[in-house]
Symmetry: C2
Subunit: 355 residues, 2 copies
């Protein structure tokens, strides 16, 4: 079984993922940058029996689970970092700490179409993916062992993808991740001091200034952050204060899917289909936990959910890893200008529905 281990010197947790165990000669390269053999793709329409059983299917027709007839499909990861089964033990070992690898690791197959990356989907298809994200978040929060569920998408080999077929993932952990904890704490302290949301303040300041805002819609604003870690790193934030993605109404998801369509197609044009990560930052569940301080049940309303997009066209090298600094060769003001000036392809190509 996998386990979470704490490094007391770095103050960070690692998942020692024994189910994904590699021996030295097995660190070979897979190539998700090319379509490969569609017939052998486990996420391909018609190959449903090659994945673990279906957790959720969006748009399923009258046909039974674990076969064709779906538009978005969620299954357990075949090589999970963490598993739902098992008791959540926590123990100290000398100066170390370890926690059983209990959690969840799911794959959201975004489309039945192997060759249809999110930038090519129409907004309606993207909206179904966002609904699947929302539904999985709501469901997993019923499990009292889980503290946080992180949803992310890796596109391209250098961004960590291992399969070409468009998909996103969810990893749920028994400990709130340190990056999330840090942001929650900053938001809470800001609110405590000023009775305002730090993200709302950020949006206010950046919209007034304008030079780091590529564009905005009714409900969302795009932002090249002042201290962007990567060239063309982009945050997509709801303009109104909303702390939790899981509470998003349908019309918010509809607007967000149009933003994503527009943004991802511009980025593809601008950077020639770069590898990227897209990460959902949202407040954790609000359920009170046995043995947890009240803290975690009240903090969440101070937060402001958003998406972070990071193209992986520069490296995290020795300096970045050893220092915690990023080196970004593209000022965000320039990135915003390039994004604004790139025409949206807007190509909403209808595809034949499968079968």
């Amino acid at each position: 079984m996998s386990e979470l281990r704490y490094d007391p010197i770095r103050g960070r947790w690692t998942i020692i993922a024994t189910e994904r165990a590699f021996r030295p000669h097995e660190f070979r390269r897979r190539d998700p940058d090319h379509p490969g053999d569609v017939g052998a793709c486990p996420f391909e329409y018609g190959n449903e029996e090659t994945t673990p059983p279906e957790i959720l299917a969006i748009g399923r027709d009258h046909r039974p689970a674990n076969g064709p007839g779906w538009q978005v499909r969620v299954v357990a990861n075949k090589f999970p970092a963490l598993r739902v089964e098992g008791e959540l033990t926590r123990e100290g070992v000398g100066i170390f700490d370890r926690v059983a690898g209990v959690g969840a690791h799911e794959v959201i197959v975004e489309t039945p179409h192997h060759m249809r990356p999110m930038a090519d989907m129409d907004a309606g298809e993207i909206e179904l993916v966002l609904r699947a994200w929302r539904e999985r978040l709501v469901d997993l929060r019923r499990d009292p062992r889980i503290r946080y569920a992180l949803i992310f998408k890796n596109h391209g080999r250098e961004a960590g993808a291992s399969l070409f077929h468009p998909h996103s993932q969810l990893i749920a952990t028994p400990i709130i991740p340190i990056v999330v904890k840090g942001e929650l704490q900053v938001a809470r302290e800001h609110w405590h001091r000023k009775e305002r949301c730090i993200f709302c303040d950020l949006i206010h300041q950046e919209r007034a200034l304008g030079d780091r805002v590529p564009w905005e819609t009714d409900q969302f604003v795009l932002l090249e952050p002042f201290a962007a870690s990567f060239p063309f790193e982009t945050w997509i934030l709801p303009r109104r204060h909303l702390h939790d993605f899981a509470y998003s109404p349908d019309e918010t998801l509809a607007d967000l899917s149009r933003v994503l369509k527009d943004f991802l197609s511009r980025i593809r044009t601008l950077l020639s289909d770069p590898p990227f990560n897209l990460i959902l930052h949202t407040a954790p569940s609000s359920h009170p936990r046995i043995g947890q301080p009240q803290y975690w049940t009240t903090i969440e309303h101070d937060y402001h959910w958003h998406l972070e997009f990071v193209p992986r066209i520069t490296q995290i090298a020795g300096f970045e890893w050893g220092s915690g600094y990023s080196i970004n060769p593209t000022p965000p003001e320039e990135a915003a200008r390039y994004l604004r000036d790139t025409p949206s392809t807007g190509r909403e190509s209808r595809v034949e529905s499968r079968e």
Copy 2:
């Protein structure tokens, strides 16, 4: 001019490196994994006039600077993230903070021989590289604008190298990097509470247990950390409490160079010449600073310098970036066993001296 920008939400600094500025179409891939055209290599023996002027040359014969006749050569980076010239201004901008990009970015050319990676050097050659590191640290600490100098080595494209010729780098910053600050603080608090060094405690516990210690020498111990972030991540620590690499006596550098020779040649055998980063973690300068609290002048003796080696054979993907967790598929106990069982090639091939 470059500048350092602080992200108030993430609590991290980014270097916006305008001297390395890229336009979108310029994010092309270089290939440091293959030797390329030796004649065009700026670090090649005989091409000295193609680099910025020499800062240091180790083993220089009677011939003048900026020409042949050296064994290790240090020059300024041609596309520096930070520059020595300029005034160190610090200012707030709305909710943001920025600092002028003053610092240093140097390249340590480790050998005159293009095709001689560190794993092939003999220990005597590696020792000269370590002496260059030590000498540059000592020299840069004389500059009161510089708070920290980080020395690191990127090997292979996926580890961030952009040139094949064996080299390491130094980036000196006007702010202590957050990763270093975190470790200094942990070490200080541990010492404050227990009057012991946390790294010494770690070494004591791990040597007694043994299963994460590949091997040790007179002066050094190798350790696969309990919560290793990457498969075969390895720390090389002095067995005695030594806080500052810059104070290392020659015999310590000689022992370390034998350890590195042995370790890097085993790793190359085991993982087929993997891309890797090697990072020096050491205490910052002890000079008191104008306007700095006494804190930074007293903390350093609590620290324990060491080298961190991270092979880059797994990806930092969306989950890792968004959470701060690492996922490591190789338990460190297994990695230690593989390292122990791999014979050291020990091949100390003498090469013809250049010219």
